[in-house]
């Protein structure tokens, strides 16, 4: 089935999320929709899927105009969507999840689970998925859960499949497997729209590339383009994706973690006997698939994790047993992975956010009085120094783009006297320009002789930014290797196989 979007326009108030967008997806073709976060990719797909009504333009299936008033219509017309965040019910089995919404019934209106199982087996066999229809979805690995989503779409008889940022939660191996599945589907004649901002994936599978920027199609790209060419098109100016940094000049190992273990509230071990050290002027990247103990490790370092054992030493001083304030006061800078949740107070102004961790001391406070004048001066300086694009220091954090929010967090953390910088996924969800800036700041911090710990889930970031890479899997460190280690090896380590 041929899908065509013609002149789609979608506005939210004064903001134009999609401006006259055209796109054609043909059967047996993978069409990549490439654009930065916030470029309007997801809006476009939500229009297509019937979740939003467009303000202009039309959708055509096999050259016939169709109108979708909801996802139900879209599904009935043969459009399937694999969502970024899975729409699955974890306590249901695979078969139950797959039939949800169009349950087959037998005599008397009873649920016909046997028919559902058979369907799952059929699709699963066709594409070599090896999925047990009776497995509980919550127990399955993320990559397999995604296949359940794909099966769900295929059982609905989808002729057009939309993949919305499908690789964000996958290991490199799982990503490779997904790419293989997409190629298989292509061979079977499905039209695929693949939404992503990851250039490597685009280069691997795309037959056609449409680049979208600020809601507008900026053009089609040749699938053989280089990563830098694609990125430049996506951002609208020349970019250099490589992190520029001189070789590290490591000094003393001032940050040492020894035999660190931690337990969750429920009592399960989330960190298992972790040991590593970081030298002054060195970046150590903790690589691994999300959810393998990285969050707990950073929490343990800054004193937010409850049950811990072992030792974390900075400049010879023990951090375990200290509270967050004491740890920060010893010179630990912390960039949390979720900046809106843990890094900023959205309703506070930029200035207020900049003094969040030092509101109780000089020069920000004198006695109980906030030093407004000093704060204004300080905030204006940081605004300039960190190139925070905002109307002024009184702009609220919630009004800033992700990149500018992260700059506020960095400005706050880097303007203290640091002895260690811990940054968790510091470029998550940022646009290319901001990523460059954040990377520069981190490298500059390293070059000033501070040990830096970065948590990264994307291999490219790990290898480019890190001087050494420690790979985590299930709460353990699989190995610590130089950043020149081949991707394949790192990928295996992320799956728990030590090098």
């Amino acid at each position: 089935m041929k899908l065509e979007l013609r002149g789609i326009t979608k506005r939210f108030g004064a903001m134009v999320a999609n401006d006259n967008v055209n796109l054609i997806a043909l059967p047996g073709e993978i069409h990549c929709l490439l654009g930065e976060n916030g470029a309007g990719k997801s809006t476009l797909m939500n229009v297509l899927y019937g979740l939003y009504q467009s303000d202009g333009g039309e959708i055509l299936l096999d050259d016939k105009v169709v109108k979708f008033s909801g996802p139900g219509d879209a599904m009935a017309a043969g459009i399937g969507m694999v969502h970024q965040h899975f729409m699955l019910i974890p306590v249901f089995t695979v078969a139950e999840n797959v039939i949800l919404g169009h349950e087959p019934t037998k005599f008397g209106g009873l649920l016909d689970l046997e028919a559902a199982r058979a369907k799952v087996r059929e699709v699963s066999a066709k594409f070599g998925f090896e999925i047990d229809p009776d497995a509980i979805v919550g127990d399955l690995p993320v990559g397999v859960q995604q296949r359940v989503e794909i099966i769900k779409a295929l059982i609905g008889d989808a002729k057009v499949l939309i993949f919305d940022e499908p690789t964000a939660v996958l290991t490199p191996q799982e990503t490779d497997e997904l790419m293989a599945i997409m190629k298989q589907l292509r061979a079977a004649g499905t039209a695929i729209v693949f939404i992503t901002h990851k250039l490597r994936e685009v280069q691997e599978v795309a037959d056609k590339i449409t680049v979208i920027r600020l809601g507008k199609v900026v053009g089609e790209a040749d699938p053989k383009s280089t990563a830098n060419e694609l990125a430049s098109m996506m951002v609208g100016r020349a970019v250099d994706l490589d992190v520029e940094k001189a070789p590290a000049k490591p000094g003393q190992p001032t940050f040492k973690v020894e035999g660190l273990s931690a337990w969750s509230h429920a009592g399960t071990k989330v960190l298992d006997d972790i040991s590593f050290e970081i030298h002054e002027g060195e970046i150590l990247v903790i690589a691994g698939v999300q959810g393998n103990g990285q969050t707990e490790l950073t929490e343990a370092i800054i004193g937010m994790h409850g049950k811990t054992a072992g030792s974390i030493q900075l400049d010879g001083r023990e951090l375990i047993g200290k509270n967050v304030k004491q740890v920060l006061d010893l010179g630990v800078g912390f960039v949390p992975e979720d900046r809106t949740e843990d890094g900023l107070v959205a309703e506070f102004t930029i200035a207020e956010n900049l003094m969040l961790d030092r509101s109780d001391r000089k020069p920000f406070a004198k006695g109980l009085n906030i030093q407004i004048e000093f704060l204004k001066k300080f905030a204006s300086e940081k605004l300039k120094q960190f190139d925070i694009r905002a109307q002024g220091i009184e702009s609220k954090a919630s009004q800033l783009s992700g990149g500018n929010q992260q700059k506020v967090v960095l400005a706050r953390e880097l303007s203290r006297e640091l002895r260690l910088l811990v940054a968790s996924q510091p470029t998550r969800g940022l646009d290319v320009g901001s990523i460059e800036f954040v990377h520069e700041q981190i490298v500059a911090t390293r070059d000033s002789g501070i040990p830096v710990l970065i948590v990264a889930t994307e291999l490219d970031e790990a290898t480019q930014l890190g001087d050494r890479i420690a790979v985590m899997y299930k709460g353990m460190i699989v190995g610590i290797v130089p950043s020149s280690t081949p991707r394949a090896t790192l990928g295996q380590m992320m799956a728990g196989i030590s090098a």
Binding site: G13, A14, M15, I302, M304, N323, V324, K325, V327, L328, D329, F334, P336, E341, D342, G343, L344, V345, A346, E347, F348, E352, M355, L356, D357, S359, D360, F364, A365, L368, N369, I370, I372, R389, A390, Q391, S395, S398, Q399, L400, S401, N404
Partner: protein, 385 residues
Amino acid sequence: MKRVLKEFTTGNALLSVLAVLASFIVGGILIAISSPEVQTTVTYIGARPADFFQALWNSVFGAYDAMFRGAVFNYKAHDGVQMIKPITETLAYATPITMAGLGLAVAFRSGLFNIGGTGQIIFGAMFAGWVAIYVDLPFYLHFPMAVLAGVIGGGLFGALVGFLKATTGANEVIVTIMFNYIAVLLLSYLLKTPVLQAPGSINPVSLPVHDSAKYWFFMGDQFRVHGGLIAMLIAVVFTWWLLNRSTLGFRFRALGHNPNAAKVAGINIGLTYVLVMGISGALAGLAGTSQVLGTEKFLTLGVAASFGFDAITVALLGRSNPWGVLVAGILFGGLRAGAVTMQANQNVPIDIVLVVQSMIVLFIAAPPLVRAIFRLKESKREVTA
């Protein structure tokens, strides 16, 4: 719950004004419906419509006119004292309501839903009352000591809630509601035992407070407004300073808006809970002192009246902004003072005022409703860069 609180503390002032306006309109409709004249004339509206509209106007205008004369200025009175008495009555009622409202505003801005105004007012009144009745000192020591005792009483009772939340994770809404019962029943018990009951009395009433511990009745004894009014204004300025200019208030607001970020920034969450509730309770305790050392002059079961709950509405109506709370507090004082005249002069049930107050809460709690009524557009978020 958190989202509701956020809506209350960040919504704009215009919505508050419109909510009040809408409530008065609903109140007017109810006054008309409940008026016997309107009910009679409507039966022959076809024959003599003028009668009906005359009755309608008389009932609604008459009621609100009476309210104005009871709350602001009685232009029908014969002497000056009686003419300005209404506004002083309004201020007398507004004093404790605003003080307690400020306390609740501090808690709301910090993300804590303090429903314990009543209990904290009672504790303030009990502490202040005890010092004012049983301690004998010259006024320059006695009065400050009594007020301080009340502030400490309310503060401790509030801080205890914060302590329970910090150590056990107890929900402050439930704890404060239960603490209201504890305070009411404890007061009731103490007023029947020699601890507070007036010797020889069979009623649950204390001895009157010593003159040396009373607020200053600066307009003389024929008016009920007293020095608590000055204390209230000081409290407004203090609360403004606390929330907007002090490091403590900065941490309170950080906690209120985003406890996670506050924690990551090294703010001691547990201690902050205790401080927030302590200050919130202290301001409610101040309201208690205004009652026992001012308006009432002795302790009774009704010392907190309905001020604890009025204060919640006032804090919400004032968007938890100290100046907004002041305006809302005076409005509520006026509603209370005016209701009495309205009932006496126009036979309008005092409950109409309660309905108006409740409608205000309802309209504030449902901004989309107010927007729909007044055809306002939803305020859009400004996006930069």
